[in-house]
Symmetry: C2
Subunit: 180 residues, 2 copies
DNA sequence: AATTAGTGCCACGTCAGTGTCTTACTCTTC
DNA sequence: GAAGAGTAAGACACTGACGTGGCACTAATT
């Protein structure tokens, strides 16, 4: 692929992720404009609207899968893995702000892949509970959901916090809360 | 207004809230069907799509405003007010699952009203911090965001937890986290 | 039982977004 | 600088959703 074509492709994906996260009904023409590209160019790369959606989802899933791998959720000490995961996933969420909900509706294949990654995190949270990092009187599903939401809140509502700071605050809040 | 007309109106609002939360692009025909009503009836009540959106938002804002009033955020002991607020707002979020984000995009007036209610909560969180319920080394904005997200998670992802249980778990998690 | 507010069903014009194609042009690459 | 991959610009038909109106009919109200 020619260099400028690759650049355009990446621009379309990033613009698509950004605009579709804001409004899932954003027309392709708006995405094309935001990417600095003609509408016909978008259609050249992605036959249908759905194909573009799927490509955006895959890009996000690729990035998050890499974060899961590098966090070494099953091997590293739980506290270390947790911190590393959060530090890695926050920038990914910021760069690809599309949500899992949107995937579920629009692309069953992406949804399945997301479910697989979700299971890896479930297992990790379970391990954290087993090893005594988490309270035993709280359902693991709740701990898991809280982790997701803290990451999400940090990524979208506090865009200026750096990933390391974000990891500190998210982990601290998850484990100790904000009460004194 | 005739009794059956009022019933239909309420059905349309509730179906609209539910379907529009799932997919903001849901066509009016789908909402009408879900409400057990003809599409023309929806148009008879709400001249435009926007008008229906606004009505849904207003219904949610009415409910949540009542919760804010009854929680007595400025007068009751902070711990009591917090618990009562969560217990009240969870059912409201479940009944009107539309998000503030959607309001921002679709209806500036609703957005302004939501901002007003948001400020009341900000003030309450600040009071909780001043009175020593919350840690001083954590930004109030973060505490506020975490509260919102815990409520949201509980309302949507754990629909079977009763409001009193929900309040217990949310407040406990907010203050103490899920770590041991 | 009479009245009438309210509804369902059907048809219509309109409009925005989609997907396809053609042509002339531009920029990368060798 | 030559070749060709890639693009912008415009035209086109198609589809789905929106908003409006008419008319017969149902059901709440008196």
């Amino acid at each position: 692929m020619r260099a400028d074509a690759a650049r355009n492709l990446a621009e379309v994906l990033r613009a698509g992720a950004r605009l579709l996260a804001e409004d899932p009904g954003t027309p392709l023409s708006a995405i094309a404009t935001a990417a600095g590209v003609d509408r016909s160019t978008v259609h050249r790369r992605f036959a249908t609207r759905e194909a573009l959606l799927s490509a955006v989802f895959e890009a996000k899933l690729d990035s998050s899968e890499q974060v899961l791998d590098e966090a070494r959720l099953t091997e590293a000490p739980v506290a270390v893995a947790l911190h590393r995961y959060v530090e890695g996933i926050v920038p990914v969420s910021r760069e690809w702000p599309v949500t899992t909900r949107q995937m579920m509706r629009a692309d069953p294949a992406a949804d399945r892949r997301a479910a697989g990654q979700s299971r890896r995190l479930d297992a990790f949270v379970q391990r954290a509970a087993d090893e005594g990092l988490l309270r035993a009187d709280v359902p693991a599903a709740w701990s898991r959901a809280v982790l997701d939401q803290l990451v999400r809140t940090m990524a979208y509502d506090f865009p200026d916090v750096t990933p390391p700071q974000a990891a500190d605050l998210v982990v601290d809040t998850l484990l100790n809360g904000v009460g004194r």
